[in-house]
Each structure stands twice: as structure tokens, then as C-alpha cells.
Amino acid sequence: MLKIHNVSKAFKNNDKSVNVLENINLFVEKQEILSLVGQSGCGKSTLLRIISGLEKASSGHVKLYDEIITKPSSSIAMVFQDPRLMPWLNVFDNIKLSILNDNKETQKFKINNTLKKVGLENAGDLWPRQLSGGMAQRVAIARALVQEPKVLLLDEPFSALDSFTKTNLHEHVKDLWSSLKITIVMVTHDINEATGMSDRILVLQKPVKNKISKNEIIKINQPRSSYKNDEYNELIKNCIFKTNNIQTAAFI
């Protein structure tokens, strides 16, 4: 349903043009969970932002079904790495931001429903400053889910959380995914997260001059079981090792 076609992106940094993404091609199936992994700075967030419509590709395009994405739309929701809640709005109103055009009744119904789903049914009146990190992140996820998007983009939304909250939220997202039948593209630094949650993993490489970089895709067999994680771990590391000779131990 999501088609990424020959997407490249160059940024101008101090008059120097830096290629961040080069000719990315990818097809994401409906209801698939796809993880993006790769070194810091290899363009994962940039790719996600291009899919969301926040950023324009230098060349190539992204299509949702048959429509080229040019600007943010309500079919695609995004959760940033930091929760990005408006400090001046309480939890309820923060979530309301993504469904401002609905009428009041619908808003109330949807928001209370979503709050329940992320386990925050009593937090509607709280200010962001009164939330824990995990709660704030769940509010951010609720804000993305309440608009019932077709595609959910997650940019390392769990990376700042402790492993307990993380596991909890993984379960949440999986539940929501199976009940809402959405497609998820997720950036992560955590291989267990990638192998545990996704159908496929795209390993992004930094473009190297005069070299065609190869972005590998790893398919995770379903149903997953945890003992296989080590196997995948190796596989992903190999992927990155193959094209890059930089020490890789630290970056995932």
C-alpha cells in the first residue's frame, strides 16, 4: 500500500550538499510492520519524515495507494522520538489536536476510547508536566491512533523508556495493530524490538561516494519466537558489516 519509489534526499549543510538517502525503493504491504534500522545519521528519521509528508524528497516519490504524498494527511500518523506534547494543553486536548475537525461528541468518544486503549483512562485532565516519560509517550501514541490512520510511523518512540515500560508498550502497539489493522513503519535502535515486532526489517546504509549502497531487507519468519532473536541479531549485524567496515557493535 505504501510505495517508496527511488527516493533520494540531499541536505545543504554549510553550502555543502550531503546525500542522506540514495534511491530507496520499498513496498510496504497493508498491515505489515516494517522496522528501519541502521547507524545513527543514516537517514532513518529523514525517510520517515518524507513518508509522513513533513519533508520533501529531493527526487523520487512516496505513494500511498496510488496517490503521491506531498503533505501531511490524516491517513498517515507519526509519533516522534520525543513525545512532543503541547505543555499548555492537558492530555485530553493534546490528543484532540489530531481530530479537531470532528464534532465534540465524536471527539470525546474517540479520545476516551483511545485513552483506555493506551491505559490512561484517568489521565485526561493531567498536564504534560505531570506525566512520566512512559505516560507522555503513550499520550503521543494515543494522539496518533485517535485519528484512525492507515499508516502509523514510529520514530524510536520507545527508546527513552525503561525495558519494563517498553515491553508493555510493545504489547500495546501490537494489540492496537491487530485490532485496528494498520500498517506500521517503525525506526528502532533495538534489534530485539525490530525482530520481535516486525515482519520485515530494512537495514539502511549511509550512502558512500561512488558506491552503490545496498539496503538489505530481512524477513522475519512468523510466528516469531524469542530464541530466534540471536540468529537475526547476527544476520542484521552481518548485513551492516558487509558494506561498512566501521565498528558496528555500538550503534544498534
Binding site: 513533513l54 501531511p72 512532543r84 499548555w88 494543553l89 489530531s98
Partner: protein, 286 residues
């Protein structure tokens, strides 16, 4: 002093039911504590005058000041002086605040309009405010309009500057959130820009109001037949220090009250902010 009051507070808490005592007495003790210093000053003032350490024709004793004010208020003149000063501040403040808010918002939102307006406004800011007086008198006459214009000028700058900076400093990430959630322009202004700058706006309004009070005195000292500033001049001309001091105290009290009104009416919009105050209040409500 604070500790003593806190102790009283604690002791009282033992006697009263907690839900009653806690909040109320805490609040009261906080309000009372602000009155302590003025009372000390009045006592020292009283002692200085009663012992004739300072000559009474320079610093009259407190009761003389009170007498003077009571005397003036008996036929309603004091009240009308207060009213006229208040109305000058009010109109000057409203006029200055409205213009400053509009200009602050549009220069904050649009870089083009900022480069168009801001250099001029910053240059005007450098003009000493009293330098406007001759021009305003020429333009608006010697009566109300020129005074209100002068007050507006004073009120304008802090509000304008705070607003413009406030809008410019709004986190770009928040704008992105608005963008990704498909907020249109007005929704972005309503849900992101305006609520985000209320703290800066209130800060601007409060310093604007303070300058408004400063400028109303300037305006009234320079020529008025009514108002608190006029009373001071009158006191100077007729050699009545009690009147000058009385007017001074009234300025202080009324200025403080208007600031408090502004602050209290803004408070509901600032609940989201963490400040030391809100933390203490929440601690006490818990």
C-alpha cells in the same frame, strides 16, 4: 518571620480539621507576610516623627497623612482624583496593549513583516519617552489625549517585545506537530501559538502596566488640574508634604491592586506552567 508564621500555621493545623486549615491558612499566611514590611516601615516612620528625629514639616507623622487623605475624601474630591488617574492609565493601557499585541503577533509570526516593522520600532524605543511630550502636546493638545498617548507609548514596548520574542521562541517541533496533524492556519494560531505565548504576553502586560503607572505620573506632573499626580504637585506648591506622601501611597496601593487583578485574571491560563508557586500550592492541596 516566615518561619514563625509557618509555625503558627502548623499549630493551627492541629486544631482545625485538615481540609479546612491547610489551604486557607497557608494562603492567608502568605498574604499576611506581604503586609509585614509595610507595617514595619510605618512603625519606623511613626517613631522617626514622634521623636522628631526628622522634622515634621519634611516628614509628617502617619496620622497627619491619613487626616489629609480623609479630609480630601470627605467631599469626594479624592475619589474623583483617583478616578481620573485610573481612567488615564486604563485608556492608555488598553490602547497601548491592543496596538502592541497586534504588532507583536504579526511581527512574531511573519519574518517579512518583522523586517518591515521591527527596525523602526526598535529605533523608536531608543527615544527617551519624555521626548514625546512636546510633540504629543502639539498634536493632541494639553488635555486628556496627549496624556493617554504618552501612557500608551510607555505601555507599548514591553508588551510588543515580549510577544514578538515569545512567538519567535516557540518550539519549531510544536509547529511540526500542528503540521503533521493537519491543523489549518487558524487552528495553529488557536491551539499552538496563542496558548504558547500567554506567559510572555502576561509578563509583557504586567511590565506594560507598571510603565503605564510611571508614565501617568510623568504626564500629570507636567500639567494637569486633576489626578493623583496633580495632588502631588499641589502638595509641593502649597507646602503640604502629607498630601504628597498620601498621593504616593495611593499610587503604590492602586498600582499593586491593578497588577494583582491582571495577574489573577491571567492565572487560569498559566496553570500548565511549572513554577515554584504552583509546586508549593499543589503540595499543599495534596
Amino acid at each position: 518571620m516566615y518561619l514563625i508564621l509557618k509555625n503558627i500555621n502548623l499549630k493551627l493545623q492541629d486544631k482545625f480539621p485538615k481540609y479546612l486549615s491547610c489551604n486557607l491558612i497557608y494562603q492567608l499566611s502568605h498574604n499576611i507576610i506581604g503586609i509585614v514590611l509595610p507595617i514595619i516601615i510605618i512603625i519606623i516612620w511613626y517613631l522617626l516623627t514622634i521623636t522628631e528625629t526628622v522634622r515634621n514639616n519634611l516628614l509628617p507623622p502617619p496620622q497627619e497623612v491619613i487626616d489629609e487623605l480623609l479630609n480630601l475624601s470627605s467631599d469626594g474630591t479624592l475619589f474623583s482624583h483617583i478616578l481620573i488617574t485610573l481612567s488615564r492609565v486604563f485608556y492608555g493601557f488598553v490602547f497601548g496593549a491592543v496596538v502592541a499585541t497586534i504588532l507583536g503577533v504579526i511581527t512574531g509570526v511573519s519574518p517579512t513583516l518583522r523586517s518591515f516593522f521591527d527596525p523602526t520600532i526598535q529605533a523608536l524605543k531608543a527615544v527617551p519617552s519624555l521626548a514625546w511630550v512636546p510633540l504629543f502636546i502639539l498634536w493632541f493638545g494639553i488635555f486628556e489625549d496627549s496624556k493617554i498617548a504618552l501612557i500608551s507609548v510607555g505601555v507599548f514596548f514591553p508588551i510588543y517585545l515580549n510577544l514578538m520574542m515569545g512567538i519567535r521562541q516557540i518550539d519549531k517541533k510544536m509547529i511540526e506537530v500542528a503540521h503533521i496533524n493537519n491543523l489549518n492556519y487558524f487552528q495553529t494560531v488557536r491551539w499552538v501559538l496563542l496558548p504558547g505565548i500567554i506567559p510572555e504576553w502576561v509578563t509583557g502586560l504586567r511590565s506594560g502596566l507598571a510603565l503605564g503607572w510611571m508614565f501617568v505620573i510623568a504626564a500629570e506632573l507636567m500639567g494637569a488640574s486633576e489626578g493623583l499626580g496633580y495632588l502631588m504637585i499641589d502638595g509641593q506648591m502649597t507646602g503640604r508634604p502629607a498630601l504628597i506622601i498620601g498621593a504616593l501611597i495611593l499610587f503604590a496601593i492602586i498600582g499593586k491592586i491593578t497588577d494583582e487583578i491582571l495577574y489573577i485574571s491571567a492565572k487560569p491560563f498559566l496553570k500548565w506552567k511549572v513554577s515554584l508557586n504552583t509546586m508549593q500550592e499543589e503540595e499543599n492541596n495534596a
